[in-house]
């Protein structure tokens, strides 16, 4: 028990440590974000001291940019689990580990949401009045109390799922399905609920006809499921780029010919050694073991030796007996670490079994001994059910952010955007065709009202962006990543305007008594928003900084004695470029 607790704290400590380790690019990025965060904090301190008067809000327009951003990021948080659906419901293996990236994005987005509502409070010192059981919680009457519950619940769910999967990976244990699959399904339903509840915040107000419309909820979901996966498409490409740390010189070395390593025929003792790290092997009968040895070799690798090369065709698979082997994949001229494995891990089995070209390059990280099995021997081993299960389960290449996965997300964005635009058309038709007095807010938003038209250029920009994105998504041109990225940016910006400022502000204009008072965010307010965005990015970067080495198998319990600098590939000698 105490050992388990100790292990867990060592895990947390090492995760915390690794967040502070990186190359100069990492430090620059984190430094810039920290500075923006501090500027935001400074602006918030001013607001805390002088009150919300330092914002552009008034009694007429009593919510502004804070709540607009809150609404948008609840959508991002909700949509981040969209990536979960293809994996767990349709069993799409392409996206398996990407789930964790999606859920970490959800966690960062929820942090931002909580920050945005907190800065919007007039009396943040009285937050405890909102805590159920301690304060006075107006549940279920107030939709805001629902929001408190669903947002925090969603945060806990996602922290649990990510934390559990990462800790299992860290320990080298297979996660128990009972501990996370039920939560994954709850999280999917919950994701829809957080955004529906946020829509109901507005929909429930009878005195604000612009919001009091049943279509707001579906529109929120559609726009979230457009903007969220679009954001993930961009984020994944950033992850893919920054985790490819291999320099050009190393790439050149990887291309070169390596000397043949010393080898010897494998013996039963070698299999015995492997069985220590791969307990499933113990259930294989000694007869099969003997058969397996036919053609099997043990190779002694020097550190840096290239074991197999991406694109080459061979019919062999490897198991690590001693040392450590790292698997890298070339994508767009850069090498990216996909995973790294110690004793008991297997490599090259996918192409080995299928006889297809190698998917990645494997290099010995330390002086290592590996067992090389011909495909036929591996097949013999896999007749044993336990071995079959373990080898199959590992066959998914970790962390492959393949273009296929990105295109899978594209189809989600595509459908959602079509629905989003369709719902917008419905809303606009209902408002303008009937032409009753309640159209005033919509008029203000789309064409201006009595000479006031601050939002008109914004909403038409949003509509132009959304329509362009929609057309691009329908056309095959967005299958190319460059166009897909343009499309995603257009969709995100368009939706941010449309459901942020374009949704919140017109609800207040004109006021229920017919006065028109416009709203422009103040500089101080904008600084607070920038601060929170930077804070969100900072959180997401730190989460990735911890998660990527764990998913790659570089940060594990087995290498507890290694310093985090070594694991991050940063040593004092090469940290200064």
């Amino acid at each position: 028990m105490t050992k388990a607790i100790r292990n867990y704290f060592v895990f947390l400590w090492r995760c915390g440590r690794i967040a502070f380790v990186g190359d100069w690019r990492y430090y620059t990025w984190m430094g810039v974000l920290t500075v923006i965060c501090l500027l935001g904090l400074n602006a918030y301190a001013r607001q805390f001291a002088h009150g919300l008067i330092v914002t552009g809000m008034s009694n007429e327009v009593s919510w502004g940019m804070y709540i607009a951003n809150f609404t948008f990021f609840v959508g991002v948080a909700a949509a981040a689990v969209m990536i979960v659906i293809p994996v767990y419901i349709y069993g799409n293996e392409d996206m398996h580990d990407l789930v964790i990236f999606g859920e970490l994005l959800a966690v960062a987005a929820i942090f931002m949401c909580l920050a945005f509502v907190t800065v919007d409070l007039g009396r943040p010192d009285r937050f405890w009045h909102l805590i159920p059981g301690i304060g006075q919680f107006n549940f279920p009457a107030s939709m805001l109390s629902w929001d408190v519950l669903v947002l925090n619940g969603y945060l806990l769910l996602n922290v649990h799922i990510c934390g559990y999967l990462l800790y299992c990976r860290y320990q080298g244990k297979k996660p128990s399905k009972w501990f996370y699959i039920p939560f994954v399904f709850i999280a999917i339903v919950w994701a829809v609920s957080i955004h529906t509840v946020t829509a109901f915040l507005y929909v429930g107000l009878g005195g604000r006809p612009f919001w009091n419309s049943a279509i707001v909820g579906p529109r929120f979901i559609a726009s979230a499921f457009t903007a969220g996966p679009a954001l993930i498409i961009l984020a994944l490409q950033v992850v893919r780029r920054v985790t490819s740390t291999t320099t050009v010189t190393e790439a050149a070395r990887l291309q070169g010919d390596a000397p043949t390593p010393p080898s010897s025929p494998a013996t039963l003792a070698d299999l015995e050694l492997l069985a220590r790290h791969l307990p499933e092997l113990a259930s294989v009968s000694s007869q099969v073991r003997k058969d397996t040895l036919a053609g099997a070799m043990v190779l002694e690798l020097a550190a840096g030796h290239v074991l197999l090369r991406q694109g080459e065709k061979e019919n062999e698979a490897y198991f690590v007996l001693q040392g450590r082997v790292v698997v890298k994949r070339e994508e767009g001229g850069r090498f990216r670490i996909i995973r790294s494995g110690g004793p008991g891990e297997q490599f090259g089995e996918i192409s080995g079994l299928a006889g297809t070209p190698r998917l990645a390059t494997a290099i010995a990280e330390e002086p290592s001994r590996v067992l090389r099995l011909p495909a036929g021997s591996l097949r013999k081993l896999m007749k044993n059910p336990a071995m079959n299960k373990i080898i199959r389960s590992r066959m998914t290449e970790r962390l492959m952010i393949t273009d296929r996965a990105l295109l899978m997300l594209r189809s989600i964005v595509q459908v959602s955007m079509l629905i989003n635009v369709f719902l917008l058309v419905n809303e606009v038709f209902k408002e303008f065709y009937s032409g009753n007095l309640h159209v005033a807010s919509a008029k203000y938003l789309f064409v201006g009202l009595h000479g006031h038209h601050a939002l008109v250029p914004w909403i038409w920009t949003a509509i132009a962006f959304n329509l362009t994105a929609m057309v691009l998504l329908v056309l095959p041109v967005s299958r190319s990543l460059r166009w897909l990225n343009v499309t995603c940016v257009l969709a995100i910006v368009g939706i941010w305007i449309e459901k942020g400022m374009g949704m919140v502000i017109p609800g207040f204009i004109p006021t229920p008594l017919g006065a028109i008072v416009e709203y422009t965010p103040s500089l101080n307010e904008a600084l607070v928003c920038f601060g929170i965005w930077a804070f969100g990015l900072l959180c997401y970067t730190v989460f990735l900084r911890m998660a990527v080495p764990i998913l790659q198998g570089r940060l594990t319990k087995a290498n507890e004695h290694h310093s985090v600098e070594e694991i991050a590939g940063v040593t004092p000698a090469n940290s200064n470029p």
């Binding site: 009694n59 909102l130 290498n559 004695h561």
Partner: protein, 328 residues
């Protein structure tokens, strides 16, 4: 359990010492800079002259206070107000009177739009003069229309009334079904009306705010169909000589930055048997106020004899206790 892996560097002491000293220096420089930057960014907090004390921070919810708690709180409010304004106020916690439910009637035929009610309300209820907060908004509407979008809010002629227009003062409508109460996440605003197990209604129906419980989320302000609620976007300012020392806890005691307020039918007056300030100042007698449960009251007479009333935005289902009527 895997066998312990051999350490890659069995004797790391000599090279490590230099690195760790350099690391230590670097860490301390980064830490110091970071802390200094953090402190600098928090500097505006020094402008605060009103840090919440522990006592205020932990103050209980109005409905959960015992009489002894309330006594303490009232004493503290009295002391704080005296310290700030140099005048010892008389702060009370007035409860609803038995058998009383308040109703307001406003005669649109008589109202001339002079806004005397607006200013009497500001003076009576210790509303902030800077920035200016007013509970009553008088709308100038063209004859024949109740389309509020046609209303003029900042009319300022030489003389009222102007020909071709009528005037409609709007303040909290004291709804029987108030949306603001429903949406408040912390019960900081409620209607003083309770229905006991026997189905008996108790309370005068005024919707009040515990200014010391409100968290300032402004959801009630968004929910109100009458734009009746006002938020203290900064610390309210009242000139010392203008302070009204006759105060009630749920009424006109001075508010703090970051909380909501609104018309409460002058609780400090009406629960002590007086008329609201807006009524007393009205030069045309357009405003009538009283107990709807008393069949002999003026409001009962008006509601039982006049043919047409307006309950503003009746279609919202809010059921206001505020009735607009006409002389004919």
């Amino acid at each position: 359990m895997p066998p312990p892996a051999p350490s890659p560097n069995p004797n790391p002491a000599p090279p490590d010492a230099g690195i760790s000293r350099r690391n230590f220096l670097r860490t301390s420089v980064v830490l110091t800079t970071g802390l200094a930057a953090l402190a600098a960014s928090l500097k505006p907090l020094l402008d605060m002259n009103d840090f919440p004390t522990m006592e205020r921070f932990l103050q209980k919810y109005y409905k959960e206070m015992t009489p002894a708690d309330m006594e303490k709180v009232l004493k503290r409010i009295t002391d704080e107000t005296e310290k700030q304004y140099g005048l010892r106020p008389h702060v009370r916690d007035l409860k609803p009177m038995d058998g009383v439910e308040f109703v307001y009637c406003l005669n649109l035929t008589r109202c001339i739009g002079c806004r005397k009610c607006v200013h009497a309300c500001v003076a009576e209820n210790n509303q902030s003069r800077n920035p200016e907060i007013q509970y009553i908004r008088v709308l100038k509407l063209p004859h024949g229309s109740l389309d509020l979008e046609k209303a003029e809010h900042d009319y300022n002629p030489e003389k009222v009334p102007e020909k071709g227009f009528f005037y409609m003062p709007v303040q909290c409508q004291q709804c029987k079904n108030p949306p603001c109460v429903k949406v408040c996440p912390v019960h900081a605003t409620w209607q003083e009306m309770e229905v006991d197990s026997a189905g008996k209604r108790k309370g005068d129906g005024i919707t009040v705010i515990d200014y010391d419980w409100c968290i300032g989320c402004r959801y009630c302000e968004a929910a109100c169909p009458y734009w009746a609620r006002r938020f203290n976007f900064t610390k309210p300012e009242i000139p010392k000589e203008r302070l009204n020392p006759d105060m009630a806890y749920l009424g006109n005691r001075p508010r703090r930055q970051g909380v909501m307020e609104k018309c409460h039918f002058c609780i400090q007056r009406t629960r002590a048997g007086r008329y609201p300030a807006c009524l007393e100042v009205c030069p045309t007698g357009a405003r009538k106020f009283g107990n709807i449960l008393d069949p002999n009251s003026e409001v009962s007479y008006i509601l039982s004899t006049k043919r047409v009333f307006i309950q503003l935005k009746e279609e919202m289902g809010t059921s206001p206790r505020f009735f607009y009527y006409f002389d004919v």
